[in-house]
C-alpha cells in the first residue's frame, strides 16, 4: 500500500510536466485507424526531443549489436522452443494481472473480468502461466497498461522519448511504466533474483520481436521515423479504444 501511494505521488509529480510538455496543442487526435484520405494530413508527431532521442536510438542500436543480439541468438540456440513459449506465457500471465487492474481503472469492467478469468485459468490449468490455456478457450490476451489508463483519463502523451535499452516511449508512457515498475513484486526482491527475472523477460521479449526488427530495418528509409510512427499510432489507438469503452460504459449507466 505504501508503495502504491509512492507510485501515485510520483505520478502526481509528473503530471504537471506532462501537461506542460504539450502546452500549445491540446491533445490533438493523431490520425489513425480510418483509411487515409488525401486531404486529411495527420498531425506532426510531438518529437521535441528528437536530437536527444536519435542519440539514444543509436546508443540502443550499439547495445543491441554488441550485447543484446548475441545474447538473443544464444538464448534461442540453447532454449528449446517449448521453453521459450513457456517463458513468454509466464510473463504474459503476470502482465495480465496489470492489464486487468488497468481495465478496472478505465472503468471497463467486462474487459477486466475477462482478464482476471484468463489469469485464473492460466495460473491453474495452465500450470502457473506456462501454458496459455485461456487463448485456446477463446480468451485472448488484450493490451492494457498504466500509460493507456493515463491517456484514457485525459493526460496528453507529452513528447516522444526513446529510453535506453527499452526503446520507444513518450513522457506519459514512461510515467505509466514507472507505476508498473514500482508495483512490480520484482522491484522488491533481492537483487539477484530480481535482475535475473527481469533479464529473462527482457531477453524473451527481444527474442519474440527479433524477426520484426529485421523487417523494419529492411522496409524503412529512416528507421527512427518509421519506428516512431508505428509506436505512436499504436499508442494513440490503445488510448482511443480505452476512451471509447469508458464513455460507452458511462452512457449505459
Amino acid at each position: 500500500m505504501k508503495r502504491l501511494v509512492a507510485s501515485l505521488a510520483l505520478l502526481a509529480a509528473l503530471a504537471p510536466a506532462l501537461a506542460s510538455a504539450a502546452p500549445l496543442k491540446k491533445a490533438k487526435p493523431v490520425a489513425v485507424a480510418a483509411p487515409i484520405v488525401e486531404d486529411e494530413e495527420p498531425a506532426a508527431p510531438n518529437d521535441a526531443l528528437e536530437p536527444l532521442n536519435r542519440v539514444t536510438f543509436a546508443l540502443n542500436d550499439g547495445i543491441d549489436m554488441v550485447l543484446v543480439n548475441p545474447l538473443v541468438t544464444l538464448w534461442n540456440g540453447v532454449m528449446p522452443s517449448f521453453v521459450r513459449t513457456g517463458v513468454s506465457n509466464f510473463f504474459n500471465n503476470l502482465d495480465d494481472v496489470y492489464v486487468g487492474v488497468n481495465h478496472v481503472l478505465q472503468g471497463n469492467g467486462s474487459a477486466a473480468g475477462a482478464d482476471f478469468e484468463r489469469v485464473a485459468v492460466n495460473t491453474t490449468v495452465g500450470l502457473g502461466g506456462l501454458f496459455d490455456v485461456g487463448a485456446k478457450m477463446g480468451l485472448h490476451k488484450v493490451d492494457g497498461d498504466f500509460g493507456q489508463t493515463l491517456g484514457a483519463w485525459g493526460l496528453p502523451t507529452g513528447p516522444y522519448l526513446i529510453l535506453p535499452l527499452l526503446g520507444p516511449s513518450t513522457l506519459r508512457e514512461t510515467a505509466g511504466r514507472s507505476v508498473r515498475v514500482m508495483t512490480d513484486p520484482r522491484s522488491y526482491m533481492d537483487s539477484v533474483p530480481s535482475y535475473s527475472l527481469m533479464g529473462i523477460e527482457y531477453l524473451q521479449t527481444r527474442a519474440d520481436t527479433k524477426a520484426n526488427e529485421g523487417l523494419i530495418a529492411a522496409s524503412s528509409l529512416d528507421r527512427y521515423v518509421f519506428v516512431r510512427n508505428l509506436y505512436l499510432q499504436k499508442r494513440a489507438l490503445l488510448v482511443k479504444s480505452a476512451r471509447d469503452k469508458t464513455s460507452s460504459a458511462a452512457a449505459t449507466n
Partner: protein, 210 residues
C-alpha cells in the same frame, strides 16, 4: 515490465509482417477481376494463398526465386501503387514534377514488393477469417476486415480497396489499426523537408540498391 515497453511495438510489427501475407493472398484470387464482392474476393484469396504456401515448400523458403516470381505475377497487379504512393506522399505529392512522381511510384513499389515478399512464408501456419463487408456504392472505397488466426493473439487486418477499371485494388492496409502507408508518410515528409522531393527518390533508390 520491460515487456510492456517493447510489447506494443512488437505487436505492431508482427502485424505489419502478417498483413503482407494476406495481401499476397488477396492478390491471387482477385487476378480474375470479375465482378465480385470485395470480401468474397479477400476470403477466397486467403484460402488459396495459404494452401499454395502450405503445399509448396519453395514458397516457404525466403529469398527463393519462386517467391519473387509468384509475387510479381499474382500480387503486384492487385496493388494500386499510384494511389499508395500518392497517399504516402500526402501534400508533398504536388511538389514533385510528373517525371519525379513516376520515379517515386516505381521505386516505392519496388521497395514494398521486395521487402514484404519473403513474409508470405509465414502464412503456412495461419488462417484468415474475413468479415462480411457491405458495399454501398459500387465504385466507392471499401474496407474489408479480416483476422489472422494461429498465433497467441488474433491479428486484425483491414484492407482498403478501391474499384477501378482493372477491378478492385488494394491501396492501404491497416494492421490492428496501424496504417503502413501512414508510417511511410512520416518518412517521406521528413525527407522532403530535409532534402526535397529528390531526397525521397535518392533514399528509395539507395534502399533498393542495398
Amino acid at each position: 515490465m520491460m515487456r510492456r515497453f517493447l510489447g506494443h511495438l512488437t505487436h505492431a510489427i508482427t502485424s505489419v509482417c502478417l498483413c503482407t501475407m494476406v495481401i499476397t493472398g488477396l492478390a491471387i484470387s482477385s487476378a480474375r477481376a470479375e465482378v465480385q464482392a470485395p470480401d468474397d474476393l479477400v476470403g477466397k484469396l486467403a484460402v488459396e494463398m495459404t494452401q499454395a504456401v502450405r503445399s509448396d515448400p519453395e514458397l516457404q523458403n525466403p529469398g527463393s526465386l519462386k517467391i519473387s516470381d509468384f509475387v510479381q505475377k499474382n500480387i503486384v497487379p492487385r496493388f494500386d501503387f499510384d494511389r499508395i504512393t500518392q497517399i504516402a506522399m500526402g501534400r508533398n505529392w504536388n511538389k514533385a514534377d510528373p517525371a519525379q512522381q513516376k520515379q517515386i511510384v516505381i521505386e516505392f513499389g519496388r521497395l514494398l514488393t521486395r521487402t514484404y515478399s519473403n513474409a508470405i512464408a509465414n502464412l503456412k501456419d495461419l488462417d484468415v477469417e474475413v468479415k462480411a463487408t457491405r458495399v454501398t456504392t459500387p465504385n466507392a472505397d471499401v474496407t474489408v476486415k479480416t483476422q489472422m488466426i494461429g498465433r497467441a493473439q488474433p491479428v486484425a487486418i483491414d484492407y482498403g480497396l478501391i474499384n477501378g477499371p482493372a477491378g478492385w485494388k488494394v491501396y492501404d492496409v491497416t494492421v490492428e489499426g496501424i496504417s503502413l502507408v501512414a508510417a511511410y508518410r512520416d518518412e517521406f515528409n521528413g525527407l522532403v523537408t530535409s532534402s526535397g522531393v529528390q531526397g525521397v527518390i535518392d533514399a528509395l533508390k539507395k534502399k533498393n540498391g542495398e
